[in-house]
Amino acid sequence: MLFIVAPLLGMFVHTAVPELADTVGDQKVISSIRLTLWTSAGATLVFALLAIPFAYLLARYDFPLKRMVLAIVDVPVVIPHTAAGIAVLGVISRDTVAGKAASAVGLNLVGHPIGIALAMAFVSIPFLINAARDGFENVPVRLEQAAMNLGASPMRVFFSVSLPLAWRSIVGGMVMMFARGMSEFGAVVIVAYHPMVAPVLIYERFGAFGLDHARPVAVLFILVSLVFFVLLRLVSRSAYVQGRKHQ
C-alpha cells in the first residue's frame, strides 16, 4: 500500500501550487489531456459495440478452438506495449488495406486521433471483453430460456434479459478499458507522437526539460484521471448496487 501511495504522494508534495496553476494555464497541456480523454472514451464506446456481443458469444456458445480464442483475447495484455504499437501501425500505415481505405476518404490514420484510439483499444479491450464475458456467464441460462418460452425473440432476450443483468460487469469493464486506454503510452507513441496524448507529453517534457517540468503535468494528469476514475467507479457501483438489489 505504502509502495503505491508514497511515490504518488511525494510527487504531489514536490509540486508547488503556482507551478500547477501555470500548467493548468498551458494550452498545450490542456489540449493533450482533452485529447487523451476523448480518444480513450471514443475507443471504449465504439469498441464496446463489438466487444459486448462478442463477449456474449464467448459466454454462451461453444465452438472449435474456443480456448485458443480466449487466450488470444488476453494477448494484448502480455505483450510489450511498444510491440503492440508496432502491430497496430502495421495494420493502419498507408501501404496497408486499412490505410489505403482511409486514404481514399482523405484520412491518414497514423498520427491521427483515430490511430491513437485504435492503439488504445488494442491494449485495453481485453479488460472489457473479459469483464463482459464474466457478466454474461453469471446470467442464468434459465432466465433466457424462460424469456424465449414467453415468446421473446433472441434479440429481445439479449436486450431485455441478458444485457441488463450483465450490465454492472460491462460498465465495470468499460471503466477499466477507458482508464487503461487513457494511461497508455507505449502503443500510442509508436502510432502517433503528435498529436500528443498526456502520457506522451509527460515523456516529452521529461526528455526535453527534465523532471521538474514533467512533474506538474504528471500531477495534473493524475488528478484528472483520478477524478474520472472515481466518478466512473461510482457510476459502475450504482449499477452494481442495482444489480445486487435485483438478484
Binding site: P140, L143, A146, R156, K245, H246
Partner: protein, 359 residues
Amino acid sequence: MFRVENISKSLGPFSLDEVSFRCAAGDYFVILGRSGAGKTLLLEIMAGIRSPDAGALILDQRDITSLRIQNRGVGLVFQDQAVFPHMSVAANLAFPLKRKGWGRSYIRRRIHQLAQTTGLEHLLDRFPSTLSGGEVQRAVLARTLASEPRLLLLDEPLNSLDVQYKRELQTLLSHLNQQGQTIIHVTHDYQEASALASKVAVMENGRIQQQGPLPEVFRNPASSFVAEFVGIRNFFRGNVENPPGGDHKIFRIRGSSLFFILPSHVPNSVASITLEAKNILLSRSRPDTSALNNFKGRVQQVIPASLGMEVVVDVGVTLAVLVTRESLSRLNVRKDQQVWVSFKASSINVGSSVGPDPV
C-alpha cells in the same frame, strides 16, 4: 389435444425411452416420478428447450416437434422459478404481453386481471427479491398465463412451498383447470397428484410405467414400483389357483409358498393384488373372527405414519398394517415380537389381469 409419441432422448448417462401419452383438452395430467426419472427433461422437450432424438409432439393436430420455442403455444413454469430479477412483478407479467403488440391500456388491464386471479394485486410494484417463495411462484405462474399458452407445463410447482402456500396454489391450479386450461404437471408427490390430477402417468428411469385416469392407476397399480409410488404398501404379484374341493380360490404369491384366500368370484386371470394397510387387523394371539386370512408373523418395524402407526410384519412376505397409536400402546407391540395379522378375503383388491410384466 396434445399427443406425445415415442419421444426418446439420450443425455449423458440418462435417457428417455419411447415416452408416449395423450392429454385431452381440459385434462389435468400429472406425471409422477422420483427425481431423476426424466420428468424435467420431458417437459423441456415439450417446451422446445431441448430437441428429442426421436418421436413427435402433436398439439391440436399440428406437429410442433421442430417448431421454435417461441411459437409453440406451450408455457413452462420452471422448477427454479426463473423470475426476471431486474423487473418488478408488473414488468414480469407484461413481458409476454408486449410481444403481442397490444396497446398499453390493454396490457395494464390484462396485468390487473392476472394479478387478481393469482392474488398478486398488492405486489405488482415489488421486485422479486422482496417476495416470498409462494409469491414468486404465483408471479411466475401469472407471467406464463399472460402468454396464453394452449398447454401449461408445471415442473414441481409446489415443491418449494410451505403447507399454507401449497394449499393456496393447489386451489388456484385446479381453478385454472376448471376454467379450461389444459395442464401437464410433473411431481414426485403422489398426494399432489391425487389432489389435482384427472389423469396420471407414473415414470421410472425414463419410461412411463403406467398411465390412465387417476382412480384406475391408484386402485390397480401395474407394478410394485407404481404401487409403492402411489402410496400402496401391500402389493403382490402372483397367480390365482382353484384348490380342489374348496369354496374359495387362492392367490399364490410369486416367490413365496404363502397364499391368500380370495373370494370365489375372482377371475383366474388376476395377476396382482393390493391390500390396504388399514384393512388388516393386528392382534397378539390368534384372532377368533370370520376373517379367512390369518397369519402369524414377526414385527419388523414400527413407523409413524400420517394416520397413526404403520407396523411392518413379516409373515413370509412383508405386510404393512396401519393401527392407531392407542391400539398400538394397548397391544404393546414392539419390534421382533410375535403377532397375528388377519384380513377378510373380500378386502383384497384384485388388480390388473395377466399381461406382460412391466418391470
